[in-house]
Amino acid sequence: MQININNLSFAYGTKTIISNLSLTLNSGDYLVIRGKNGSGKSTFIKCLLGFNQVKSGMIFYDKVDITGFKSWTRFGYVSQSFDDFNYEFPITVGELLSISSIKKTTESERLRLLEKMGIFDIVNQNINSLSGGQLQRVFIVRAMLNTPEVLILDEPTASIDKQNKEFFYNTIDDLHKLGITIILITHNDDIEILNYTHLLSMYSDLTTSFEERGVELTEGVL
């Protein structure tokens, strides 16, 4: 899937968060978005996913304007805090996955994905008994169930300890090698260990830079 963003701007009320951002991603790209808190990373993702209504600028998916885009099942999304998810009500990992697949995935397919993420043994555990890291991986499995073309991860390692980070990023690399377009938000300190193809840096003064790895800085928009 090709993603085109042209002169995207977004504001909460009168406060501008994103100003004139443009970039193009092709199928199989791995974009890392970095920036400090408040630089607009998550807001940008919410624009991409249609949660924030874009009023200035354009977003196209395979040349279809986002306002008319309907094929959201081509996306997998793992949010940062899962605020909307109700953790307190008992539901096992297996049950959650079984209600989260749009195609008829068999149990063995779901177990294989859990095994791939290193959390095979928690399939019968209650969601509210999992650690932050386990939960993140469960949500990635959930996003992967429907074989998305684009996987968007908002600070997926926020609740994972340092030892598990590398394992986690290796898994993301494996998914990227399968041809899935990855868009990942992260903090600056992880950038060294990521095998991204494109990097978008966002700054609190609304400036951004978009570069392709190994290629000189292609864009710097003020």
């Binding site: 959201w72 099942t73 909307d84 998810f85 008992p90 096992t92 209600i99 749009i102």
Partner: protein, 290 residues
Amino acid sequence: MFLSFITDLFQQDFMLRALIAGIMLGVLAPLLGTFVVVRRLSFIADTLGHFSLVGIAVSLFLTSLGVTIFFEKPLYLGIIFSVIGGLLIELFRRSYNNFQEISMVIVISLGAALSAIFFSLSKKTGSLYNYLFGSILTVTNYYIILILITAVIVAVLFILFGKQILAVSFDESSAKFLGINVNLFQIIFIIMLSIVVSVLLESAGVLLISSMMVIPVAAGMKLGWSYKSTLIISIVFSELSVFFGLWLAYSLRIPSGAAIVSINIVILLVVAIIKKIVLKQRISKLDKIQ
């Protein structure tokens, strides 16, 4: 006393009808209750109940004017108004996205006000007590058939859309990536809930509907380790409440809805206390090992 209750249960028609109605409602109420609790909308049943009451009051008012076609059974208009109330909640919920409870306050207030007005106009305020507190011991065969139809409708909707409704209930924002039309399923759920609430109104009363839906689930959550187990435990607690509630109502000659809810509360308290004791014991065992 218990033996005479059991004998009467199968010899007296009204007792048997109450038991059959209770058993069916004992499944329906917590089944819908789990969805309501997952969505953190525990007060929605109360709100819909108040709006259903408007339908009943309007029906009584129309009857007092001599208009009886279709409105003869107040419950019909109760169901229609409950659905209207549910759709109003959805409408307001979208305007106050981050303050969803506001939508319920608006609808419950409107429901209470309109009910009072139409009950007063119908000059049948005397029947208000029955609608507020309900009575499962006075249900008719007709009402039992109505519950059965409701149960079939709910079962069909669950077989067809249960997975999607559960997915939307647990995580509304991710549902669109599963190809679920969130708005459509919200409306299916709200219509289903509105119908069940209206049917519950006759036996539990407006003031106790929420209790029958939510309290067994609150107790079930304390013991359940999965969605399925929580649902089954909630239904078991709900059925126990119906059975022992009927016994209490029969023995002490007290309102049946109140008796059922009281047993529900007792079960919740017992479960909470036992769980706390077990947890304390486990912690002290772990402390000793360490």
